[in-house]
């Protein structure tokens, strides 16, 4: 049991500094790859890739997959897989479309623009996703059917259940309040966005300060003050920079005119208005924060990671791993329902093929983001960055003019490459 102290003086000083800063080098590498990707696309598109408009679009296109990717992290961490998320999204979307266009108007007498339509529809959509997810979890946890099989079956069952329900028809128009959750239609405007950005910045600084204070209180080693300040500055800069970019994307004049006309006014001369933070992105941010807190600060999160690391040990420690499986899949289903809201509102219609291939995008995002299929390892922020990288690749190639087949070939290749790099990285760091 004699301990070879990790901080012994034999190691190179740079290594020591890195350990002390507790940086997630893998995540830094991903950010580096992402930045490189953006720069390359920006060069090849003559600067069109990194415009406020494109960044805005990229962000709202990423939301639906990113929301589900956070849930997929928990699924994969517990050594399972969910191939049905795209289909669950589709069936939730179908149910919501039918709810707001047929069920609520005809049976409850609520017209399409009634204020209760949007909240009720969303509750139904979230409920459908959660129930299907919980059912999957029950089949896996209590009946012992492998997750791969349960969700492969669900992949066929749920998409086609949705198809049957809508007779394969595209359903539109939808409730206008509901459409606010899609992205471009529902943004908070510049002032509210700045306020949220500032609050987020304050929260980030408080988080860093609080973590340090708690370590000091227990006499644990802490990072040097300059490092904490630098990390805080980067975090604040990133948050405010992001908000500034979204605010810089101006609402097109035609749309602005329609907004003013709806209020019975005319657009003043030379008036312009930025989009600001889309509601859908705000939802993603809330999901990311909540899921990160769940992963790190709650018993549920601890049990998810413990079960992934050693299912037997978790069971022997008194963790009800079967019920845990139900919870993890129910959460995944809930997030698929949430993504269905965002996806349907963004497309402004329910169509049969909504969410097609999303299961693969979601799994790829989680895996590129560092979630290990062997279980026990994964981060929420990594999965979101993974989703962003995937979407950037796809959009960027589209803008450059790469043919669709080549786009898919590249995305497939990148997935395998990312996992290979990950394996090499883990071999070296022994993580």
């Amino acid at each position: 049991m004699s301990d070879t102290a990790s901080a012994s003086g034999t190691q190179p000083r740079r290594r020591k500094l890195f350990d002390m800063l507790e940086l997630d080098t893998r995540f830094l590498g991903m950010i580096g790859a992402f930045v490189l990707l953006c720069i390359v696309f920006n060069i090849f598109t003559d600067g069109r890739f990194l415009t406020a408009r494109n960044i805005f679009n990229l962000t709202i296109q990423t939301v639906s997959v990113a929301i589900m990717a956070t849930g997929m992290v928990f699924v994969i961490v517990t050594r399972h897989i969910d191939l049905s998320v795209g289909a669950v999204l589709a069936v939730s979307s179908a149910v919501m479309a039918v709810t707001q266009t047929v069920f609520l108007p005809h049976y409850l007498g609520l017209g399409l623009e009634h204020p209760l339509i949007a909240p009720l529809t969303m509750l139904v959509g979230l409920g459908v996703g959660t129930i299907i997810g919980a059912f999957n979890g029950w089949l896996i946890g209590y009946q012992g059917i492998p997750a791969f099989i349960v969700t492969l079956g669900g992949f066929l069952v749920w998409r086609n259940a949705g198809w049957y329900m809508t007779s394969g028809q595209t359903i539109a128009p939808l409730d206008s309040t509901f459409l606010l959750f899609g992205g471009a239609e529902g943004t908070l405007g510049t002032t509210a966005s700045w306020i949220i950005g500032l609050l987020a910045a304050v929260a980030a600084i408080y988080g860093i300060w609080n973590a340090r204070r708690s370590k000091v209180a227990h006499d644990f080693p802490v990072k040097p003050v300059w490092a904490e300040v630098a990390i805080g500055a980067i975090a604040v800069g990133a948050i405010l920079g992001f908000i500034a970019t979204l605010n810089a994307y101006l609402i097109p004049s035609g749309k602005l005119r329609r907004i003013f006309e709806a209020r019975g006014e005319v657009v003043p001369e030379g008036y312009s208005q930025g989009h600001g933070l889309p509601i859908s992105v705000l939802i993603l941010i809330v999901v990311a924060v909540v899921m990160t807190v769940v992963a790190r600060k709650t018993r549920l999160g601890k049990y998810i990671f413990a079960t992934g690391g050693n299912p037997d040990a978790a069971e022997l420690s008194g963790i009800n791993t079967r019920f845990l499986t139900v919870k993890v899949f129910a959460l995944m289903g809930f997030l698929a329902g949430l993504s269905a809201i965002v996806a349907q509102a963004r497309l402004q219609a329910h169509s049969n093929d909504i969410g097609t291939l999303d299961e693969l995008r979601v799994i790829a995002a989680a895996v590129i983001g560092g979630t290990a299929l062997s279980g026990g390892i994964g981060t929420i922020y990594g999965a979101i960055l993974g989703a962003l990288i995937m979407q950037s690749l796809q959009s960027g190639m589209g803008m450059v003019g790469v043919d669709t087949p080549f786009q898919n070939i590249v995305v497939g290749g990148v997935l395998v490459l990312a996992v290979w790099i990950d394996i090499q990285y883990r071999k070296r760091t022994g993580g």
Binding site: M1, D3, K297, G301, G309, A313, N320, G431
Partner: protein, 249 residues
Amino acid sequence: MTTPLVELRDISIAFGGVQAVDRVTVDLYPGEVVGLLGHNGAGKSTLIKCLSGAYQADSGEIFVDGKKVTINNPRDARAHNIETIYQTLALADNLDAASNLFLGRELTTPLGFVNEAAMEAETRKIMARLNPNFKKFSDPVSALSGGQRQSVAIARAVYFNARILIMDEPTAALGPQETQMVAELIHELKRQGLGIFLIDHDVHQVKTLCDRASVMKNGQLVGTVKVDEVTEDDILGMIILGKQPEKAA
């Protein structure tokens, strides 16, 4: 003597065609260490797993403080203050020492969140007592040596004020100095009135640490002896030949 702290009566359990434990009865008194011996595959681990809740016996009864109890899972066992150090250690390799020590019984803040700092502080305290050389508090336990992992498993079992402690080959991966520390720990816990089941292949160690020894062979109990009344050779005879020494207890 008084009522036993715990009694396993006529426990049987089979896996498929293998009768791993066959009508075995053992008991344990407060402040007593009972050694469980037997060749590989004799059924020692399986027997104690019926007590720790990892397995459910096919038949037989378990009494704690003379009262019949049902132990269906590890939570039930913990509720009866039964703690176990498993032969496989049962650690989540991807988590650090503190997370493993408190797994299933996390310390929480008033808001219900896991209190990492308090758990690490407690872990540092108990490790300072059990293994002062232990320094790797922030690494996942996969980065620890076999002995360090074992000391985490031991810390987990003794931290929660067990009354009944099950140790399945606790010193298998330990060096001589650390083995000595575990021996001292066993003496101390014994003084505090715990009952300990100790599974060990080292007959000499059993003779020095234990009060009684129960020997198993092919799933059956060969017999239980007071270690003071027999020689090491007697015990070896029980293990290898499966027969009671002449003047059996």
